[in-house]
């Protein structure tokens, strides 16, 4: 039997030539340092690939049931969640393995950046890696559309409105993006094509190039303070080191990769099993107001940046910033492709990473809480704290009703309850006088800023009651706000 197998193997290999070509590639020597304890820094790329494999597997599985048509997509997702055996698990795993892939790709990139591994001769590997990051994010966005709930539908509306701002070509781009004059079946179908054919095809092609470059340029040695990169001598030194002390990749190094990948798989499977599938939240209904689309977590920072940027910069943030950021990432190996690699010798690089992740973290948190979005139900759903009105005069109670009825609460919280778009008004009586309040309410933010002018929306009696209520909003014992005036009498 063994003999037979080896004969078949020999017959095949005589024609395929695997032993002569592929095996040496797998067994290629890597620097000794990369196989030692420092080798644990090298596991994130392979973990990304492991997660990609899970994505392909679960993606094929989901595509066997999912229907990319607006009238049935939602139903087919519900079927996956509740009826198809393990359908809920595949949906959950596809989401969490995809999230994990974004995390692993980012960690991998950060490690490569901090260790200066993108420097000569691995500039192109970095470039292709940046494109792989773009593909991964593209998969995340297009995947969210396929979930075909309210977020997906209005997400397409937001994407269309953004694309519509492109000078001159805007309307044509919107038409191409939506696949027609409205968001509908053609929109979903083209995002399906993007998600299962176009982007995965590009991703696999780029990944092949990425891996070829890893083999061709060799795995970088762990950074050594005494060995800055000099393109004139690097290749000779690297090859000499490999010949002297290199160890085969198929050995301790790949063992670390497998070990870490196994941990990652266990983590995402456990997460998927515990957290379950994400959505779909609700059938998209274009006639239903109040839908507030949220981007998926990798895009929350961009969502926040957009919401927080001044209007003059808005179109640039929408259209220019993503291009600039990708461009900057692509430029990294051309700005510095030589010199020291060790993070301890590159304080600016370390500081940039710290700053970037701090900014991304803060913006992501802001995007998650989204204080700039009004709370559309607060006017009728959030009660006024009892302590604020239990001593109130009839006029103040009337003012409270005006406050709720005129939807002030959608943007202004009372004791933290309500919209957070405008300031919390729990103690407004200590900050603004009666006249200042009337001015603010009637005219809104000067120049048409954040608060609308209510002058035409509120009658004189309503205004009197409302202002009386607002002036009464002060902590116990605090006097109302006063205008600072010079006492002219001697």
């Amino acid at each position: 039997m063994r003999n037979w197998l080896s004969q078949i193997g020999g017959w095949l290999d005589h024609r395929l030539g695997v032993k002569a070509t592929v095996l040496p590639l797998l067994a290629h020597p890597i620097p000794r340092g990369a196989a030692g304890p420092m080798g644990w820094w090298y596991v994130f790329g392979s973990a990304s690939m492991t997660l990609l494999a899970i994505q392909i597997l679960t993606g094929i599985g989901l595509s066997m049931v999912y229907v990319p048509a607006p009238d049935q997509a939602f139903q087919s997702l519900e079927y996956l969640n509740y009826e198809q055996p393990m359908g809920w698990f595949l949906r959950a795993l596809h989401y969490y393995a995809g999230s994990g892939m974004v995390v692993m790709v980012l960690v991998h990139m950060t490690q490569v950046f901090l260790h200066g591994s993108y420097k000569y001769p691995r500039e192109l590997t970095w470039l292709v890696g940046v494109l792989l990051l773009a593909c991964t994010l593209g998969m995340f966005f297009s995947g969210q559309i396929l979930r075909w709930d309210s977020d997906a539908y209005w997400g397409l509306a937001v994407a269309g409105s953004m694309a519509g701002r492109v000078p001159i070509l805007g309307p044509q781009i919107v038409q191409m993006l939506h696949g027609g004059p409205v968001i509908g079946g053609d929109s979903l179908s083209r995002f399906y094509a993007l998600h299962v054919f176009v982007i995965p095809g590009a991703l696999l092609l780029l990944l092949a190039v990425h891996l070829w470059l890893v083999l061709r340029c060799g795995v970088s040695a762990p950074p050594d303070r005494s060995q800055p990169v000099d393109p004139r001598t690097y290749d000779a030194d690297y090859q000499a080191d490999l010949h002297r002390t290199g160890v085969p990749f198929l050995g301790d190094a790949i063992l670390k990769d497998v070990f870490f990948s196994a941990l990652v798989v266990i983590a995402v499977v456990a997460l998927a099993a515990v957290a379950g599938p994400k959505g779909p939240s609700e059938l998209p209904d274009p006639t239903q107001g109040g839908a507030n689309p949220r981007p998926e977590w990798p895009f929350l920072w961009l969502f926040a940046l957009l919401a927080l940027s001044p209007p003059a910069m808005e179109t640039f943030v929408i259209l220019g910033l993503p291009v600039v950021l990708i461009g900057l990432l692509l430029l990294v190996p051309f700005v510095s492709n030589r010199g020291p690699r060790s993070p301890s010798q590159r304080p600016v690089a370390v500081l940039m990473v710290v700053m970037l992740y701090t900014v991304l973290g803060v913006l992501t948190y802001q995007g998650h809480t989204a204080p700039w979005s009004p709370d559309m139900d607060a006017w009728s759903a959030d009660a006024v704290p009892v302590a604020m009105v239990e001593q109130g005069s009839p006029l103040q109670l009337q003012g409270m009703a005006v406050f709720q009825n005129k939807t002030c609460r959608n943007c202004h919280a009372l004791e933290g309850l309500g919209g957070r778009r405008g300031p919390d008004l729990s103690t407004i009586g200590t900050r603004l006088t009666r006249d200042q309040l009337i001015n603010q309410i009637s005219n809104g933010t000067p120049g048409g800023g954040n608060m609308p002018a209510y002058g035409r929306q509120i009658g004189p009696h309503e205004m009197t009651a409302l202002v009386d209520f607002l002036v009464s909003l002060r902590p116990h014992g605090q006097p109302p706000a006063k205008t600072a005036t010079l006492d002219s009498s001697p």
Binding site: P70, V158, H178
Partner: protein, 197 residues
């Protein structure tokens, strides 16, 4: 460098013939690429066309003056497999009759002019409010506050035999509004806009 055995005849016995076949191949390749590329390009750039269709929203009498109402209808610009997704809403406001005894309507799309989210009408405060970034509009569609760069998009309407009809709206964007005759200055104006700080 390996040298060819002297017995092998050289390839370019007929240089003219080689050149001819070379050019013929380029030519054939160009023709094949065009024949393949033209229909494929047409296909990939092609999208569901925009059509001018009118949708009846109800009789003119059914709209009380100066009240804004969300009217829903099935947008005829749809695919048969769109399901309930083609159910579209517009805000209709009857504005009374003008000097020539003509009924005047204001029909506004639900999409916020900022980034396309659906605005909600609050009759008690007389304002439209957008859930995404807090854009606010007055009852007449003018921008009141927040990030929108202009007022709400106005739909084209007409009255046919006592029925109010609206032109089926496409997805409106800043450079591709719903009203081909252009928006009145009050909607498109950006003059009073300032930093929304």
């Amino acid at each position: 460098m390996t040298t060819e055995p002297t017995t092998t005849p050289p390839l370019d016995l007929l240089p003219g013939r080689r050149t001819f076949f070379g050019w013929l191949t380029y030519g054939l390749g160009a023709i094949a690429a065009t024949m393949l590329g033209w229909p494929l390009t047409r296909y990939f750039l092609g999208t569901m066309p925009r059509r001018e269709v009118w949708v009846a929203l109800g009789s003119v009498d059914s709209f009380p003056p100066d009240q804004t109402r969300l009217v829903t209808f099935d947008n005829p610009m749809r695919q048969p497999w769109d399901g309930k997704l083609s159910h579209t809403g517009v805000f209709v406001r009857y504005q009374g009759q003008d000097a020539n005894q003509q009924d005047q309507f204001l029909i506004l799309a639900v999409n916020c002019s900022h980034l396309g989210c659906p605005v909600t009408w609050f009759p008690q405060s007389g304002l439209f409010l957008c859930p995404c970034h807090g854009g606010v509009y007055h009852a007449n569609g003018e921008r009141a506050s927040g990030p929108p760069p202009r007022g709400l998009f106005r739909c084209v309407w007409r009255i046919e035999q006592g029925q109010l009809e609206v032109q089926a709206p496409h997805f409106p964007t800043l450079q591709d509004t719903l009203d081909p005759t252009g928006d009145p200055a009050s909607l498109a104006a950006n003059s009073s806009r300032c930093e929304h700080a």
